[in-house]
């Protein structure tokens, strides 16, 4: 019945997390978010002039996210260059952050968020979103809230929180199902994806677990921002 996790964690236990704000002096806002062995850094520049001009939105500012993995962040080197997975995750990240970011005061301008994985052990897009959310707040972008992101998984029939790479490759029974979810502290879902096999009831269970553990992540993000005291 109960799955024994390779690293001894309980089913609803997330990996040790740490976060730091203000790591890139040149950026308007920046942050690092680490979950287990996955490390993401994010830097925000903006609001600033939006190039190319033809993409400007005259009604309000544009949020532009760019997610990338450093070539040596994974076991087998990633050749630098355009990468479809990274392009998709960049857009997913934008959608995860857009509902809370308020850019009405910056028509025609852009807020650029650059996210890089310096070390990867699953849950990379979630770590990236968590770092980006802190970096946006740090940069002084008006926001309704911070968002917190976590990958909930299902290993065979058990719902678990925060899959690591080893668990992503789980093959027994129904195998592994990967469900990255991003939420506001009020439980509003800004991003959800799924990859695997799951029924409706268990999916609801997974979402409930995400609600619970995202609160832990939120506390760490909040503390990282408050610790900087004055910020920049």
């Amino acid at each position: 019945m109960a799955i024994k996790r390779e690293d001894g964690r309980k089913v609803d236990e997330i990996r040790p997390i740490s976060a730091k704000v203000g790591i890139i002096p040149n950026a308007d806002g920046s942050a690092m978010y680490q979950s287990g062995k996955t490390i993401a850094i994010a830097a925000v520049y903006g609001p600033r002039e939006h190039h190319p001009r033809n993409q400007r939105n005259p009604a309000k500012g544009t949020l532009r996210c760019d997610y990338n993995m450093l070539s040596f962040s994974v076991t087998e080197r990633i050749r630098p260059g355009p990468n479809r997975r990274a392009t998709e995750i960049s857009k997913i990240t934008e959608w995860a952050l857009a509902p809370v970011v308020m850019l009405e005061d910056y028509p025609g301008m852009v807020v650029d968020v650059h996210i890089h994985m310096t070390q990867a052990d699953a849950g990379t897009r979630c770590a990236g979103i968590n770092a980006a959310a802190m970096a946006l707040a740090h940069a002084g972008i008006p926001m309704k809230n911070i968002v917190s992101s976590i990958a909930i998984g299902k290993l065979d029939k058990t719902i678990v929180a925060d899959l690591n790479k080893h668990e992503e490759d789980f093959e027994e029974g129904e195998g592994a199902t990967d469900i990255p979810i991003t939420m506001t502290p009020d439980g509003e879902i800004t991003h959800i994806q799924l990859d695997g096999t799951i029924d409706k009831e268990q999916l609801k269970e997974a979402i409930e677990m995400a609600r619970k553990v995202s609160k832990e992540i939120y506390e760490v993000q909040k503390k990282a921002l408050k610790d900087v005291g004055e910020g920049k």
Binding site: D28, G29, G46, P47, G61, V100, M102, D105, Y106, P107, G108, M109, A137, H138, A139, G140, I141, P142, M143, K144, N145, I146, T184, P185, K222, L225, K226, G229, E230, G231, K232
Partner: protein, 230 residues
């Protein structure tokens, strides 16, 4: 009035208060359930039921009367387009220059790339209108220019200019602090200019502490050695 050293750091989404008796100041918003939240990363300030969040970071918000420092981007037939770091275009009309400017001679007064100190005299749908008619405004000829976080400018200037005057007295420099975060320093010696710049950077780094004026006076005692200090 909440004291400088009692101000709490708040983050976007954080609930500050609940109820109808509160007035919403900058950086705050009311949710459907009556909760008042912060929409910025900043310092919470409450006084007489007015709740506001003073941002710790973020873009410069232009206001009428602000003195700003910017770079000439473009010369049009009747003036100069100036980049002051805001979303709206800032424009200096040749009618807002304290002398006659020939329509063919705009670039001789100020050329693309020149830095200029100006005052915002109007903000409207078209953009920001600048003027250099007052004293101390105009093209910048020499000195040092650098950037600070625009949100720290009030601390650099101080209550009624107390901080910036302290710095001017201790360094003998002319200093113009742009509300948009650009600062121009001009002194007799480069050492004086650097001393002024470093003291301003000190203020921005320690802007959250109370008794900052005393700290800056102490800083000057330690750093104000004419000639080689390192």
């Amino acid at each position: 009035m909440t004291e400088e050293n009692q101000r709490k750091v708040v983050i976007p989404g954080e609930v500050l208060a609940k109820g109808d008796e509160f007035l919403l100041g900058e950086g705050t918003q009311k949710k459907g359930n009556g909760e008042i939240i912060s929409i910025r990363y900043g310092l919470l300030e409450e006084s007489n039921n007015l709740i506001k969040v003073i941002p710790l970071s973020g873009a410069y918000q232009p206001r009428r009367g602000n003195v700003v420092i910017g770079k000439v981007e473009e010369i049009t037939f009747n003036g100069w387009v100036i980049d002051i770091g805001s979303a709206e275009r800032a424009f200096l009309s040749l009618t807002e220059v304290p002398r006659y400017v020939n329509k063919d001679g705009l670039d001789e007064v100020m050329d693309v790339g020149d830095m200029v100190t100006s005052k915002i005299w109007s903000i409207n749908k078209r953009g920001i209108d600048l003027s250099i008619k007052s004293r101390g405004l105009g093209k910048i000829d020499e000195g040092i220019l650098f950037n600070v976080n625009p949100n720290k400018v009030p601390r650099v200037i101080g209550k009624e200019g107390s901080m910036i005057n302290l710095i001017k007295t201790n360094t003998g420099c002319n200093i113009t602090v742009g509300q948009n975060g650009l600062i121009w320093i001009k002194g007799d010696l480069i050492e004086d200019e650097l001393l002024a710049k470093n003291s301003i950077l000190f203020v921005t780094e320690k802007s959250f502490i109370s008794g900052l004026t005393e700290e800056v006076e102490k800083w000057f005692k330690e750093n104000k050695i004419r000639g080689d200090k390192k």
